[in-house]
Amino acid sequence: MSQAPSRIERRFRALHEQSRAALVTYVMAGDPDADTTLDLLHALVAGGADILELGVPFSDPVADGVAIQLAAGRALRSGMNLPGVLDLVRRFRERNGETPIVLMGYLNPIERMGYGAFAAAASAAGVDGVLTVDLPPEEGEGLLPALREARLAPIFLVAPTTTDRRMAWICEQAQGFVYYVSLKGVTGAASLDLEAVGERLAVVRALTSLPVGVGFGITGPEQAAAVAAVADAVVVGSALVKTIAGGNPGTLPEQITAQVSALRVAMDEAPRARGIAP
């Protein structure tokens, strides 16, 4: 079935033509409040973010390190919830119709809203993809069909521990891009082994024609550049979340734009190893 390419597909195609890797940024919705997050989303785009990952706060984020745990706590205290996240996306879309948005969170808040209701509302708000950290595809018989029906890309993690066979199977279910977790650990850990990432990435690429992003543990321009040399997308989260935690609300958007553009510049200057997925 051929459908018009999605925002995510269009974005990766455009970058591919320019031989550039995508910069995917993660911030937590509602950290420290909804209005600031809205400003920050535009600030991320101004700095050169290609795809926005928007964290949906959850009380029990088992896959997240301290920085994102604390961000979730701040967001929940500010009153953010899943309908609030969708409202934020809707407001973002009033000024930006092109930058893809991927929600990243945990299953229970989605389950509470109802799979079908969530998928329809997310699609209407302008969400493009959904990454549910605690939902491996084998448990997805409820959510995944609802996402596909609403034309939302289900995005999956593959890990250093994922077997080749399983990786092939996960890639079959995925749309948008495949997210390779660069280390055994939680978000924000700092022990990225670039060589090992390169090796595993070669395996993932052999299994899928989808773009492959790499994230968890990428903190600064140098690492982003190194990962951009081998991956289609570089995901930076905790480093931005830490800036938001320590920032002065008045100057935060400028700070975030500067931090992102430093990443973007380093990535664009890095020599790229190869032509990447179409």
Binding site: Q69, R112, D134, E138, L157, A159
Partner: protein
């Protein structure tokens, strides 16, 4: 073909993917999937190995002190008036609770899998102590995560774990109780998945834990059945056990699932009362959702955020419950009821006074409901209460509540 499991674990559930009807499963970050698959495989392998069974049985007999007695509480029965109340004396196990039945099994499996580092979460500290104990015996490094709130409430057990050589890491995130300790243990496991074995302390978590922990705890129910047949010549009319994650209840209930004449009662902690909203009773007052790797009844708010549980007993202070209990609830095979903090305290004192047995506050919830149930039953009937642990660890909590400085 059903996969082989430890002998005596008769149920066809869960299915191969760890589902009990709509409950259970494996809702975890991808990094853990391979580890859970390896664990499931290793567990099925030891189920085929008579040598493992022999070693486990020997440890349960000579290290844990099994079988635990089934004791007829005559004065309590007399005072309550009604069915004859038997106590399954898990409090007499080494380390003072049923938790050790499971840690002996899991750590033998860890050793078999070549893991050198053991981690665990703990609420009351009983599972932490039981884990640290067996880790010490086998010379394995042990880290126990415990909510900072519980570290305060259960100081004697914290010290015990330290004496046993374990490192106790207080968890400051979230509500600083058992659920947060479990989050932190899962984060540790994601990070050290190659050399670390995560010993979960209840029938909760992702597959295979609810099945595996149940199978290790089924020794409670198997002994109870034999002892009841020997002492009364028939099966009991009812079984009563407290439900935190649900391991002592599942261990008692499971070998009786196919005996419809035996009624099963799981007692949740109602804290200040269900209406107060401050309780730990997901089966009585919660709804199905996803937490800690499985779909099960839990306590959450309208947005799907997990709520803090409350109970006077740290071991029941958990907003979720093992998925098989959710299944037994929906299928109607087991009944889930509750007892408040106050009721548990009254039962605590009553057992101490009438029988000379100081029960754990967790077990006191089961006793509180059992008293009500027994009073409605005929004197010719019998019920068995799982006395899941002893109350030495709780005397500080109780003294403080009664305004006594120790």
């Amino acid at each position: 073909m059903p996969m082989p499991r430890l002998e005596g674990a008769g149920s066809p559930l869960p299915d191969a993917r760890g589902h009990f009807g709509p409950y259970g499963g494996r809702f975890v970050p991808e990094t853990l999937v391979a580890a859970l698959e390896a664990l499931t495989e290793a567990y099925h392998e030891v189920g085929r190995d008579p040598e493992f069974r022999r070693r486990l049985d020997a440890d349960l007999a000579h290290y844990v002190g099994r079988p635990s007695p089934l004791y007829l509480a005559e004065r309590l029965t007399h005072e309550v008036g009604g069915a004859r109340i038997y106590l399954k004396r898990e409090d007499l196990n080494h380390t003072g609770a049923h938790k050790v039945n499971n840690t002996v099994g899991q750590i033998l499996l860890a050793q078999r899998m070549g893991k050198r580092r053991i981690i665990a979460e703990t609420g009351a500290g009983q599972h932490g102590v039981a884990t640290a104990t067996v880790a010490a015996r086998l010379g394995l490094a042990c880290v126990v995560y415990m909510g900072a709130e519980d570290v305060k409430r259960q100081a004697p057990n914290v010290y015990r774990m330290k004496l046993l050589g374990a490192e106790v890491r207080p968890v400051e995130s979230g509500s600083r109780t058992l659920k947060d300790a479990m989050n932190e243990a899962m984060r540790d496991w994601v990070t050290h998945v190659d050399d670390t074995f995560y010993v979960i302390g209840s029938v909760a978590g992702p597959h295979p834990y609810p099945m595996m922990v149940r199978d290790f705890q089924c020794i409670i129910g198997r002994e109870t059945r034999e002892q009841m047949l020997a002492q009364e010549g028939r099966l009991p009319d009812a079984l009563v056990a407290c439900v935190g994650g649900g391991s002592n209840a599942m261990g008692l209930f499971h070998p009786f699932l196919d005996d419809p004449e035996v009624a099963l009662y799981g007692v949740e902690a109602a804290g200040h009362g269900l209406a107060s909203g401050q309780h730990s009773a997901p089966l009585s007052a919660g709804r199905p959702g996803v937490l800690h790797g499985s779909r099960t009844y839990l306590l959450d708010d309208a947005d799907g955020q997990i709520q803090e549980a409350h109970s006077i007993s740290a071991g029941l202070d958990y907003p979720g419950v093992g998925p098989e209990h959710s299944w037994l609830k929906d299928s109607g095979r087991a009944h889930y009821v509750y007892a408040t903090d106050e009721e548990a305290l009254a039962a605590f004192h009553r057992l101490t006074r009438t029988e000379g047995i100081i029960p754990a506050l967790e077990s006191a919830h089961a006793l509180a409901y059992a008293e009500r149930l027994a009073a409605r039953m005929a004197p010719a009937q019998t019920l068995v209460v799982n006395l899941s642990g002893r109350g030495d660890k709780d005397i500080f909590t109780i003294a403080a509540r009664e305004g006594i400085a120790l």
